[in-house]
């Protein structure tokens, strides 16, 4: 499974300040693989993205998460940082 994460938005609205990460899950340690699969399961990302956003957030980062695996193909989700659980944001920061 390949996970690609890019970000945009934020206080400056700057594309250039955005992150861009690509991780091959199969190349990671067993513990990290487990964590990544748990948090980046396409079904769960779809639920997070579909949840109604009642946030009054200003200047949030927006994350575009692309999950590609051989079984289910390519899935792309766009989520605001306040839609993502803090554990997932910590994982993104560690990548």
């Amino acid at each position: 499974m390949i996970i690609e994460i890019s970000s945009s938005g934020g206080f400056g609205g700057l594309a250039a300040a955005a992150l861009s990460k690509r991780i091959d899950v199969d190349q990671q340690s067993t513990a990290l693989q487990r964590e990544l699969c748990e948090y980046f399961e396409p079904r769960d990302l779809r639920q997070l993205a579909a949840a109604p956003c009642r946030s009054r957030c200003a200047d949030p980062m927006i994350y575009r998460i692309t999950v590609t695996d051989e079984r289910s193909g390519r899935h792309v989700y766009t989520l605001r940082e306040d839609q993502l659980p803090p554990e997932m944001l910590d994982l993104i920061d560690q990548m």
Binding site: S8, G9, G10, F11, G12, G13, L14, A15, A16, A17, S55, R56, C57, A58, D59, P60, M61, E81, D82, P86, E87, L89, D90, D93, Q94
Partner: protein, 367 residues
Amino acid sequence: MCFSCCPHGAHHPIHCIIPPHMLRVLALRGDERQADMARSLLKQNEKIRQEREEHIHPLLPPDDALPVAAAARGRARKSAPAFFDRRIHDGQHRAALPGVLVRKEGAPETGIADADRMYDASGEVLSLYAQEYARNSLDGNGMPLIATVNHRRNYNNAFWNGDQMAFGNGDGRLFRSFIDLSVIAHEMTHGVIQYSGGLIYQDQAGALNESIADVFAVIAVQRHLGQSVFEADWIIGGELLGPEVKGVGLRSMKAPGTAYHDDMLGQDPQPFHMDNFLSTTDDNGGVHINSGIPNHAFYLFCMLLGGKSWERPGEIWYRALQDMNNPMAGFAEWSDQTVGAAISLFGMGSPEMVMLRRAWKLVGLPT
């Protein structure tokens, strides 16, 4: 409004003190009698405005020549009680909010540099709102001011999430810090906007949300430094950029589009005129981009008026925000709202009103 505008010379004190923006609403929503009365008074307003404009000198009179009543209206400010409730947290480089409480109101310095700077800077902003605009904290009712520093790792951002603000440390390359008075005032003002009726964070309404946050950001900085409008640099985020980045800050209200031009960051994309309004789906419809237009209008207004930005210009912008009742307002409506506030505070035909209309025209509003 004066007695002479009342029909048939009769004095109707209530009719004579209704400001024009209220008359426009009455004309739309009142019953037949109220709507007729409102339309009649608006026509008389327009007549008086035209008569005054024939006599208005294009040069602004010096401050000490202002009519006493208008000066008194503009400067008579009540302060709100200054009982702050600051709660500064250390995010410890993780995403969970608010983190660990490290400094509450009245507590001594912690030794955590960003937390102590946040404490001081947020106090400056709370004082601005309390002393200049009689607003007790972000909600007007003394709500706690919750802030988190050291949010996440290498986090190139700061935000307001509806309940609190959070600040990253930057990656050290593009951004060296987000603990900058203009950024802190910007995020706190998003809270003020939220509690003042809100502006949807999308397209023109979102750009207004951003612009008003920038306006009170520069006001906070200028007030802290005791600067006149001519002494200020009008930069948002002047302390943010990394050492190798070519730029003066994230945004310039004086010269939108010039704040940075850098290989890593790109070029500042902000327009300063409606002719260059950017229609985009990025950035929630360009909220950080098109904010350059109303930002520049505020700057021009301050240049035309002189003095201190937190006084007459700030009072007008604050009053307009409190009076506005449309979370989807666009730039044209906002420009009208500010002119209405100028009229309410300083009078029809006042230099403040005239110069404000001029400033909006210079950025192409109303279209």
